[in-house]
């Protein structure tokens, strides 16, 4: 007897938006260009109707309810309604192949799928492969059911229409599962990560911090990051109870539409991978900036320095690096400046802060270890495996797969190679699998890409390792030049040498491409590049 035994479940947060922010808006730009807007009061009524609908479908407690959907208000309703009824929200990555989708739907044992209308053809392909054998309900996120070969599809609006818009809170154990997301699977099969109510509520509260995404009731937030991947970095679970206005761009990325939406809705905080901010920079420039934007959260990969500098110089917008993974809920560290840096000029802040992966959030602990498992000093020199632990970090994958990524002493091996600075900032040197091992030394592909993308004639660049008889591996640089420009290996080698790379690190080979291929979550797809050039 001391403090109340209030479980950390979604009901602790769900009632906030309708009660204290009834008039705050949720805005969705639909794929056809129309804009849907409603208030948190209406959001909560519809989410509670969906809770009743899930009960009416006869789904059991703990059943997995999948979404195959773009960002948008119905997806937000599912984010809250599914866990509030004690079921598990499985966000399907719509960039996966039909084969991989069939695999994860079966592996997760999904009982229902809520799908956007334009994704039904993809779901049909999954169905053709027998991938929906365990699925008993398909709900299309719209007013009516389009022509489809799928059996028994019902429309979301028909499903919830007329149902009561109040639902009595359930007493849900905080350690019960809330959600399920599979890793993007750049190596091997996707692996499932189970989020609990406790981990998600803790993450939601931690994410609003001044040290994290810095989202409060005065903000208007646009997660460009997809809701099908790592909970859109947790934005929907944070922005909703904290009463920030939420803005969604539904459908695949259209840079002009995104920037127009950000300007029209006066977005203050947005979150996305570096390739997004590369893609929209010219649009922002054409508008003369986005004066209401306070900061951009940039993660999923290390942003090139030239990008950080461009946003700072041309738009006055700080790009705040975010580091995390599906397994870390995902926010683990963010790169904010410290108090004693208040008088530093922006150049110095860029060096010391913005080009780094950040300071671990309170609650997350980090360790950098050598191959023997010994902790390395944070001395800006020692490079090793990054491990993390904390109450919103996974302790296993669904079904016990990938057990080697979890240490006996309770840490998660991230697969990233990192360096810590004496003042506590972590720098991600590379993914372990992307690091180039040449003649017994390591070359960071990310460092090299960042340097090459500073060249004005380079639009995008990615560096991969190719096998080498003498050196084991050597770097190969893939470059997409800016329209009308040409790029040569000699020019790149000269530039890299001038910016401090050693001679033995310089790439021996260049491949000029039209664009660097992207993974399902928008990062550079080095697996695809390796498959193409790895010989």
């Amino acid at each position: 007897m001391a403090m109340m035994e209030t479980p950390l479940n979604t009901w602790l947060l769900f009632g906030h938006a309708p009660r204290y922010f009834p008039d705050t808006e949720v805005v969705t730009r639909l794929p056809d260009g129309r804009v849907h807007r409603y208030t948190y009061a209406e959001f909560a009524r519809r989410a509670q109707q969906l809770m009743h609908a899930l009960d009416a479908l006869g789904l059991a407690p703990g059943d997995r309810v999948a979404t195959l959907a773009w960002n948008g208000y119905r997806h937000l309703e599912a984010y809250w309604a599914v866990p509030c009824t004690g079921r598990v929200l499985h966000t399907l990555n719509l960039r996966l192949s039909p084969e991989d989708l069939a695999y994860v739907i079966g592996h997760a044992d999904d009982r229902a799928v809520l799908a956007d209308p334009d994704l039904l053809p993809l779901l049909e392909k999954v169905h053709e492969r027998g991938g929906l054998a365990g699925v008993r309900h398909i709900v299309v996120l719209g007013d009516k059911v389009p022509d489809t070969a799928l059996p028994g599809v019902v429309a979301y609006e028909e499903l919830i229409a007329g149902l009561p818009d109040a639902y009595a809170p359930r007493d849900i154990d905080e350690r019960s599962p809330l959600g399920l997301c599979y890793t993007s699977g750049t190596t091997g099969r996707p692996k499932g990560v189970i989020y609990t109510h406790r981990s998600t509520v803790l993450h939601a509260i931690a994410a609003s911090s001044q040290a994290a995404m810095s989202i409060g009731p005065g903000d208007c937030v646009l997660p460009v990051v997809p809701m099908f991947h790592a909970n859109a970095w947790g934005v929907p679970y944070t922005a909703t109870p904290y009463g920030a206005k939420q803005v969604f761009l539904s459908g695949s990325l259209d840079p002009a539409a995104l920037v127009e939406l950000m300007a029209a809705e006066r977005v203050t905080v947005a979150a996305g991978v570096p390739t997004i901010w590369m893609a929209v920079a010219d649009e922002i420039a054409a508008r003369g900036g986005l004066p209401e934007l306070r900061h951009l959260l940039c993660g999923g990969a290390r942003p090139p320095r030239a990008l950080i500098e461009r946003y700072r110089r041309d738009f006055g917008i700080p790009l705040v690096q975010v580091w995390g993974m599906t397994e870390t809920s995902p926010l683990a560290s963010l790169a904010w400046p410290k108090e004693h840096m208040r008088d530093w000029d922006e150049e110095r802040i860029t060096d010391a802060v913005r080009t780094r992966a950040g300071l671990p959030l309170p609650g997350v602990q980090m360790d950098i270890r050598d191959e023997a498992g010994n902790s390395l000093d944070w001395d800006s020199i020692s490079m090793g495996d990054l491990l993390v632990r904390g109450p919103w970090i996974a302790d296993s994958y669904l079904g016990g797969e990938g057990a080697a990524q979890f240490t006996e002493d309770g840490w998660f091996r991230t697969g990233d190679i990192a360096v810590g600075s004496p003042d506590g900032y972590v720098v991600i040197a590379d993914r372990a699998k992307d690091l180039i091992k040449s003649g017994g030394e390591w070359i960071s592909s990310v460092d090299m890409e960042s340097a090459v993308m500073a060249l004005p004639e380079v639009a995008e660049a990615a560096v991969i390792a190719v096998p080498d008889d003498k050196w084991q591996e050597r770097p190969l640089i893939c470059v997409a030049p800016r329209p009308g420009s040409t790029v040569t290996l000699a020019r790149i080698r000269d530039h890299l040498e001038a910016t401090g790379f050693a001679r033995w690190q310089l790439p021996d080979r260049i491949e000029v491409v039209e664009a660097i291929p992207r993974t399902g979550v928008g990062k550079f797809d080095k697996k695809a590049l390796r498959a193409r050039f790895d010989s």
Copy 2:
């Protein structure tokens, strides 16, 4: 198996400051005017030495370790060291009488007391009354033991000197007690509130939010609120892991010293009761403002509107209302503007936001009930008892006292009378015991004080109820005029009527005083006024 079973205890947060903010400073202005400063690296080494010292004293797990101390770095060390060893930090209110201190030390069964040198005479008086019978160790927070009648006093610096400065983290159950604080006891005996590791860690994370105190690594925070009362609003448990620079003013309040310290250390966020901000406004004006201050957190009582307006108009500093109590850890609601208010002028923001007690933090739920226990609408009209619940709200007092303040359905009765607005802001009308019941209607003493303090000739004003044969109670106004001014009842009645008070609400009696007496935590002491004038 899903997410790591990481307990929410102080060890989850303690390692952050030394690891990721080793060079960030903790600054203490000592009572003699000297300034002590060190880094979080040194803080953590000394805190770990103190952990070893507590072990060496032979204190058992769960033993209460009391502090009788001003704000300062040694107090901060105790804040972390005591709970990290599994013991319970009992912050004694140094404004209590020796009798009350003897009572709470005995009631809490304190085993050790860490006391500032200048507070030893107070502790001697407690000892004379037999109030230290159960206390086995007295540690004076200094280099050496001054002359004292107390037996067996040891000096803090001698106690920790030479001890190892690393301490192996303990596996502490998150529901075990971390701290103990007694209510200020304006009615009856002080009652004890036990904070747990879980409630404190949750509060620490929630408090850094953009919606709460908005404290991050870029900030410099000064809690004017005492560390002996409601954990200085949680500042030490938030600022430390989030890496904000912390500044303490040790000893009793000196307005000039406080403002000088805020300017010299470039404070960005400060926290205190309204009487503090009243007391220092002229000093801030004399300096021409405090340009680095982002906001002032103002709670413990409702700030008068004139104060809010003065800080906005003269200094450009937003006064952010905070509402909470010892029983609520203490942050429950804070008054931040919403997204759709971005274009509002400051006058309108003052009306809609700054004069209100705020929006409940996610995690805290509020209910306003009538005398029959029915929930009232948040319609800006219905006034009733404010109840709260959540994971950092007390579910009982130590020893089961005051059980009537906890409802059967799991809420804490705050004793405040509140009104909710349709857009989710709560307004505290009054403490239930301060509300004036006149002729079957209620008069808010806080509303009336706020209006009277807008008069230029009034420095301070407090309204109390006096018994009345006909009307049951009638308002009496106690006024401290500004130096050289005079105030009359007629002038006050005219002003109140002009600002919207009804004729029957106007006070019938005035008492002119030199200053309004203060409680131990700096609020207007209406109990003292009632004792003086209640006839």
